[in-house]
Symmetry: C2
Subunit: 284 residues, 2 copies
């Protein structure tokens, strides 16, 4: 692996994901530095040995000494950061990210980027219902899916480099999708599920639900504990695909509802047989 002991890594945005990358890479022996506006985040990570150097300011020496820069910022902040600070990048630096949406981030960032550095975007399908470097955990990558989303601006070498990063983090399945394919996919498997979990939790004000639920309700609503700033940004920036998936789900759900109202047992069973068959693909 070209990754191990290959120069300096800088994490910009040391939250849950940035912190988990830092933890994994430090454990592998890489030299990891971080920039985050939160003093407590930097202090915590230094104290725990998650990073070797850190700053709450964009320290020119930290940026220009980095061979690899990993963005753990909110989606809107990423292109802004690049526009403002890219003059500090070392020539030949490789840049990647963890952002949960791609089209509206990647093209903008690549369009304004210096030609002597390369930004190859990726999305590790891992996370937690809590935020902050204090909750970092490099175990979240274990057996996770990892999606690299190259554009025409990317070299084959960068794609391979980025896939290697996913592998050394411990991810199980490394895929390559276009930014648009990624956003369609993520609207369905991630964003829609979060919208459902939130709506399920807001649909009942019963304080005693926890005394009566089985695992199904607990599992369905685990992700209803949600970072509202980040997710509202992700939803709006992926509005078109997400609205499309929401409407498709609404249509299916309403069909099921109407079958129940009509006591159309055969129609309900047909849908359940289909869902059973499709869900089985996951358990292979």
């Amino acid at each position: 692996m070209q990754w191990i002991n290959k120069g300096n890594i800088l994490i910009t945005g040391l939250g849950l994901m940035g912190g988990s990358y830092a933890m994994a890479l430090s454990r592998l022996g890489c030299h990891v530095a971080a920039i985050d506006t939160r003093r407590e985040a930097i202090d915590f990570a230094l104290e725990k040995g998650i990073i070797k150097e850190g700053s709450t300011e964009v320290e020119p020496a930290l940026v220009s000494s980095a061979d690899t820069v990993i963005f753990g910022l909110y989606p809107r902040t990423l292109p802004e950061w690049i526009k403002r600070w890219q003059h500090l990048f070392r020539p030949g630096a490789m840049i990647t990210d963890v952002t949960g949406i791609k089209s509206s981030v990647v093209y903008e960032a690549q369009a304004c980027l210096r030609k002597d550095v390369e930004f190859i975007a990726a999305h590790p399908m891992a996370g937690k219902e809590v935020s902050g470097v204090e909750n970092s955990d490099d175990g979240i990558f274990r057996n996770a899916n990892y999606i690299v989303t190259p554009t025409k601006a990317n070299t084959r070498k960068a794609v391979e480099w980025c896939k290697d990063l996913g592998r050394i983090l411990g991810c199980r399945k490394i895929s390559v999708l276009s930014p648009e394919e990624h956003d369609e996919m993520i609207a369905f498997v991630s964003q829609l599920t979060h919208c459902i979990a939130v709506s399920l939790m807001t649909a009942s004000e019963n304080r005693h639900l926890a005394d009566y639920t089985g695992n199904s309700f607990r599992d369905l609503t685990r992700i209803a504990r949600i970072n509202e700033d980040m997710w509202s940004e992700l939803f709006i920036m992926n509005k078109k695909p997400l609205l499309d998936k929401m409407d498709r789900f609404l249509g299916e759900f309403r069909e099921f509802r109407d079958a129940l109202e009509a006591e159309d047992s055969e129609k309900m069973k047909e849908k359940m047989r289909l869902s059973t068959e499709r869900r089985a693909w996951f358990d292979k």
Copy 2:
């Protein structure tokens, strides 16, 4: 506990739940027999030591020697079984069940029941996405919720007896609700979640979803592997409360959808803050 070594137990309907009861009670040293129409179910349970006696027919001696009868049958079958075979019950026998809906089963069963036996209904909030005694597992009760649903026809002694059964199975929280309260609750926390999971799975025919999902999608759709005969029966028999919960969820979901369409970030955040607060009650 009055339960241990207290006479003979008969399980009628030796599926996943009946089998898990049998396994737990046999482990505790009880004498457990079972009746099930499936020859393989009885043979499997005998061979594995889950039961001591079994029959594929309603064997008069098995029924009349039982001090406790536990029904693991489908909801519609339970009252039918009682009407047809209750002449065989031993005077003073205690009867309970595992059925997932209550009003439409309990009142009918109690109304036709002999006066010298007592039926006290219960619902263990535990299960699996697979069926059959072959998948029995008495670990499913560990820390599960357990709901006893007495009516005016029940004695206080029977309620305590039934709560003790939940305790010795290993359940964590034992609650008492009326059949109607139970059905309202279950429509929301169990039936609605199954309808959502099914609709989510039927809303996409992408065969490669498993390569891109995070845990949220896997968790939300785990219960989309579903026994269509049992659940369509449960849904139709609890139609009114379930339609009400489905409509409430639909309303919330549509509000969230419309907030996204209007890019009303504040409205979305408000709902996410509420869901986060409510979901936190579960993690106490």
